[in-house]
Amino acid sequence: MTKAITVSGLHKSFGRTHALDGLDLDVETGEVHGFLGPNGAGKSTTIRVLLGLLRADAGAARVLGRDPWADAVEVHRRIAYVPGDVTLWRNLSGGEVIDLYGRLRGGLDPRRRAELTERFELDPAKKGRTYSRGNRQKVALVAAFASDVDLLILDEPTSGLDPLMEEVFQRCVEEERDRGRTVLLSSHILSEVEELCDRVSIIRGGRTVESGSLADLRHLTRTSVSAELAGPPNGLADLPGVHDLDIQGRRVRLQVDTDKLDGVLRQLGESGVRSLTSTPPTLEELFLRHYQEEPAGPAERNEVAR
C-alpha cells in the first residue's frame, strides 16, 4: 500500500519551546489512523505542518506524495480539514461557509451536502455568531465530508458533539473508509478511536512513542488475571513479566505482560484451576500508561502549545 502521509524526524520549535522533537508518523492509504497524545504533545502542531501552515525546522513530511509546504495548494485540493475549534464569520450563515469551503477545495457534492446537513441536524441558515460550539463543528464536518477529497485531517473534531451526533460522525468516517479515503483522526475519545481506527500513533513531548494496530498495542500491555486454584500456587513470583502478585490462600491476583500470559497460564494449570478470569487491558489503561510514562527524552516538554 502507498502511504498517504509520511513524516520522519520532524522538529519544530517556537522560541525556546520544542513542540516537535523528532516526530515520525506513517499513515497508509485507505486507513483510519488515530493520532493520540496528551494535551500539548504536539498533535495540532504536526497537523499544521501537514497543512503547510507551519514550516518544519527539520525532518521530512510528505502528504499524498508531495511536500506540504512547497506544494500546499496542490495538496489541499485533495484534503479536507476540520479544526478542533471552528471559528466562523459572524455574519455569514453556516450554509454559505459550507459552500465556500467546498468550492475552495474544488467542488462539493450537493446531494451529499443535503444528506449530511440533515443527518447532523444542522440549520444552515443561521448566522455564524449564533451557532453553539457543536454546531460550528458540524458546519466544518459537513463541508469536509461533502467534499470530494482523498484525505481527511480531523483535529479533535467531535469535542463539542453530543453522543447522538458522535454516532453520526462515526458512521460518516466509516463511509469515508468504505470509499477508500484516508482519515487522520486526532482524538481524545478512546471509544471513538477503538471503534474507528485501524492503526494509531501515540505521541508525547513531540515524539512518537508508539505506533501500530490496536491489537499490537494491547500486546504491549498487561493483562489482569485472577484465579482460584485447587492447590497452593507456586513459582508465580519467579515468572518473567508478572507484576503486583497478590496471593491469599488459594486465590491469586496478578498482572502480567500480555506477551508473557502463556507462561502464567501454564504455571496456574499445574496447581489446578477452579476458576479463572482474565481481563485484557482497557484502552484507558493502554493510553494512561503511554501518557504517564516518562518520555524517552531528557526534558519534560508538556508546556508546548498544541
Binding site: S44, R48, L51, G52, L53, L54, R55, A72, V73, E74, H76, R77, I79, Y81, V82, P83, D85, V86, T87, L88, W89, R90, N91, L92, S93, G95, E96, V97, I98, D99, L100, Y101, R103, L104, R105, G106, D123, P124, A125, K126, K127, R129, T130, A140, I153
Partner: protein, 543 residues
C-alpha cells in the same frame, strides 16, 4: 428581616462584584483609555496657544467673529461663537469635535465591556461567579465615567487660565456628552446581539446628533448676535442634540449652568432604560432578533469572501469621503474669504497647501487632509488579514486549495483599490460642492494615492514579517496624521515633515505636477507590499 431590608439587600446583591469588575475593566483599558483621553485633552489644550498666535489682539478676534457670523457653512461645521475671548473661541473651535471624540470613547468602552463580553461568551464564566445581575453593566458605565471624569479634569485644569467658570463648564459639558453616549450605548447593547452592530448604531446616533446640531445652527442667524445682544435661543433642532447642549452651555460666555441638568436628566433616564432592559433579557440574548441568512451560499473564491467581509467598510468610507468632499467643496469660497484678512492663518494654509493662491491653498490642504484620512482606511483594510489570521478563521480557508498569496492579494486588492475608489469619490464630492475646476481637483485628490499606498505598504510589511507587529501600522498612520495636521501649524522643521510620504507630494491644485516623487512613492509602496508578501510566504501562520 423586614421587607424593606430584604429588598435593600437583594439590590445590593445585584451589584455584587462591581468593584472587582470595574478594576478588571480599567486594567483591560489601561492603554486605550489613557490614549483617548490624552489625545482629546491635547487637542483641546493646544487650541488657546494656536488661537493666540493667529488672532493675538481683541480687534483681530472681533474681526474673525464678525466674519464667522456671516458664514452659515462654518456655523454648521463647527457651531456658533458666543464671545471673542480666547476661551470662548477655544470652546467654539474644538467643542463639537472634542465632545464627539469623548462620546466615541465612551460608547466604545461600554460596548466593549457589555455586549462584546456576552457575544464572545466570556460573560458567562464571569456571571457564574459571585457577580450580581447588574454588576457588569454598572462596571462598564463606571469605567466610561472614570474616563470622562479624567477628560473633564484635564480640560478644566488646563483651560482654567482662560476663566475658571468657563473651564469647569466646558469640562463638565464634555463629560456630560460622553456619559449621554455611554448610557445610550448601554441601551443599544441590550438591543442587538452583535457588538459591532451596537457600536455602529450608537455611532449612527452620534452622527445624527452632529447633523441635528449642524442643521439647527445653520438655521439661526449666528450665535454672536445672541451673545452680544440679549440673545435669542438656538433652533429647536439644536436642542434635540446633546452636542447642541454643550454649545448652549456657552462656556466662557456667561455660562448657562442649568444646561448641565439636561445632561444629568438624559444620563439618568437612559441608565434607567438600560437597566430595565438588561433585567428583562437572558444573557447573550437581545431584543432585536438576528435574521437568518441563506441556507446555501454563492461565495466560492477567496476574492469573493474578502469582498463580502470588507464591502460594508468600503461602502461606509465611500459615502463618508463623498460627503466630506461635498462639504469641503461647499466651504471653499467662504474659507478663502475667512483667512484672507489674517496673515498667520493664511500662512498656515499656505504651508499646508504649499502655494499662495488662497483658494488653491485651501483646496490643496483639504485634499491633503482627506489623503491622510484615507491612510486610516488603508491600514484598517490591510489589517483585516491580521484579524482573519489571529481569529483562526484563515486556517480552514488556507487548508483549502487557496494559496497564501492569493488570499492576501484578495484583501489587498480591496485595501489598495478601495483607497483609490474613496479618494476618487472625494474628488467627485468636491466637484459637486465647489462646482469648478473639476479635473484639477480630481487630480489633486488622486495625487495623494501614492502616499496612501506607502502607508498601506508599511502595514503589509509589518503584518507580513510578524502578526504581532501588525498593530504598529496604526502607529505609523497616526504619526503621519499628526505630522500632516499639526506640523504646518507648528511650523515644524523640514526634516520632520519629510518623514511623512505626504510631505513629498506635489501641492495640487495650483502647484506644478511633479512626477518624480509620485512615481518614487508608488515604487516604494510596491516594494513594501512585495517585501511584506515575501515575508508572509515564508513565515508560520499564527494559530
Amino acid at each position: 428581616m423586614t421587607t424593606l431590608a430584604m429588598r435593600a439587600s437583594s439590590r445590593s446583591r445585584q451589584l455584587a462584584g462591581t468593584g472587582t469588575l470595574l478594576r478588571f475593566a480599567l486594567r483591560r483599558d489601561r492603554v486605550t483609555t489613557p490614549v483617548w483621553v490624552a489625545v482629546n485633552a491635547l487637542m483641546v489644550l493646544s487650541m488657546p496657544g494656536t488661537l493666540r498666535g493667529l488672532y493675538g489682539t481683541t480687534a483681530e478676534r472681533v474681526g474673525l467673529v464678525d466674519q464667522l457670523e456671516s458664514n452659515a457653512s462654518f456655523r454648521a461645521l463647527i457651531g456658533p461663537v458666543f464671545d471673542t475671548s480666547v476661551g470662548a473661541l477655544t470652546a467654539w473651535r474644538v467643542g463639537v469635535y472634542a465632545a464627539a471624540l469623548g462620546a466615541a470613547m465612551s460608547l466604545l468602552i461600554v460596548v466593549r465591556h457589555t455586549r462584546d463580553e456576552e457575544e464572545s461568551g466570556r460573560q458567562e464564566l464571569v456571571a457564574s461567579g459571585a457577580v450580581g445581575r447588574r454588576a457588569p453593566l454598572t462596571a462598564a458605565l463606571l469605567a466610561a465615567a472614570v474616563a470622562d471624569a479624567a477628560l473633564a479634569l484635564l480640560v478644566t485644569a488646563g483651560l482654567a487660565g482662560q476663566g475658571a467658570g468657563g473651564a469647569l463648564a466646558f469640562g463638565l459639558g464634555l463629560a456630560g456628552v460622553g456619559m449621554v453616549f455611554a448610557t445610550m450605548a448601554a441601551i443599544v447593547a441590550q438591543l442587538t446581539e452583535s457588538a459591532r452592530l451596537a457600536r455602529g448604531l450608537t455611532a449612527a446616533v452620534l452622527g445624527a446628533a452632529f447633523v441635528l446640531r449642524a442643521a439647527g445652527d445653520s438655521a439661526t442667524d449666528g450665535g454672536t448676535s445672541q451673545a452680544f445682544g440679549t440673545g435669542g435661543g438656538s433652533s429647536p433642532l439644536t436642542w434635540l442634540s446633546p452636542l447642541g447642549w454643550l454649545e448652549n452651555l456657552r462656556s466662557f460666555a456667561d455660562e448657562r449652568w442649568w444646561v448641565l441638568a439636561l445632561f444629568a436628566a438624559a444620563v439618568a433616564a437612559q441608565a434607567v432604560v438600560a437597566y430595565a432592559l438588561a433585567g428583562r433579557r437572558d444573557i447573550g440574548m437581545s431584543f432585536l432578533p438576528t435574521r437568518p441568512g441563506p441556507a446555501t451560499g454563492r461565495l466560492g473564491t477567496a476574492g469573493a469572501l474578502a469582498w463580502r467581509l470588507q464591502r460594508g467598510g468600503v461602502l461606509g468610507w465611500s459615502i463618508g469621503f463623498f460627503l466630506a468632499g461635498v462639504v469641503y467643496g461647499g466651504l471653499t469660497d467662504g474659507a478663502a474669504d475667512l483667512v484672507r484678512d489674517n496673515d498667520s492663518a493664511r500662512r498656515i494654509f499656505e504651508r499646508m497647501g504649499g502655494q499662495s493662491g488662497l483658494t488653491d491653498a485651501f483646496l490643496a490642504s483639504m485634499t491633503g487632509m482627506l489623503g491622510l484620512i484615507a491612510a486610516l482606511y488603508v491600514v484598517a483594510s490591510v489589517l483585516r488579514l491580521h484579524g482573519e489570521e489571529t481569529s483562526g478563521r484563515v486556517e480552514p480557508v488556507l487548508a483549502c486549495a487557496v494559496g497564501r498569496l492569493r488570499w492576501a492579494a484578495s484583501h489587498l486588492t480591496i485595501a489598495f483599490g478601495g483607497s483609490a475608489l474613496i479618494i476618487t469619490l472625494a474628488g467627485l464630492g468636491f466637484a459637486v460642492g465647489y462646482g469648478r475646476e473639476v479635473v484639477p481637483i480630481l487630480g489633486a485628490c488622486l495625487v495623494q494615492l501614492p502616499a496612501v499606498w506607502v502607508i498601506g505598504g508599511a502595514a503589509v510589511l509589518l503584518y507580513g514579517v510578524a502578526p504581532r507587529l501588525a498593530p504598529a501600522a496604526w502607529g505609523v498612520a497616526v504619526a503621519v496624521l499628526l505630522i500632516g495636521w499639526v506640523g504646518p501649524a507648528l511650523d515644524a522643521p523640514r526634516i520632520v515633515l519629510d518623514l511623512s510620504p505626504f510631505g513629498h507630494l506635489p501641492k495640487l491644485p495650483g502647484g506644478a505636477m511633479q512626477w518624480t516623487p509620485v512615481l518614487t512613492l508608488t515604487g516604494v509602496a510596491v516594494a513594501l507590499v512585495a517585501a511584506g508578501l515575501a515575508a508572509l510566504r515564508r513565515r508560520d501562520l499564527a494559530g
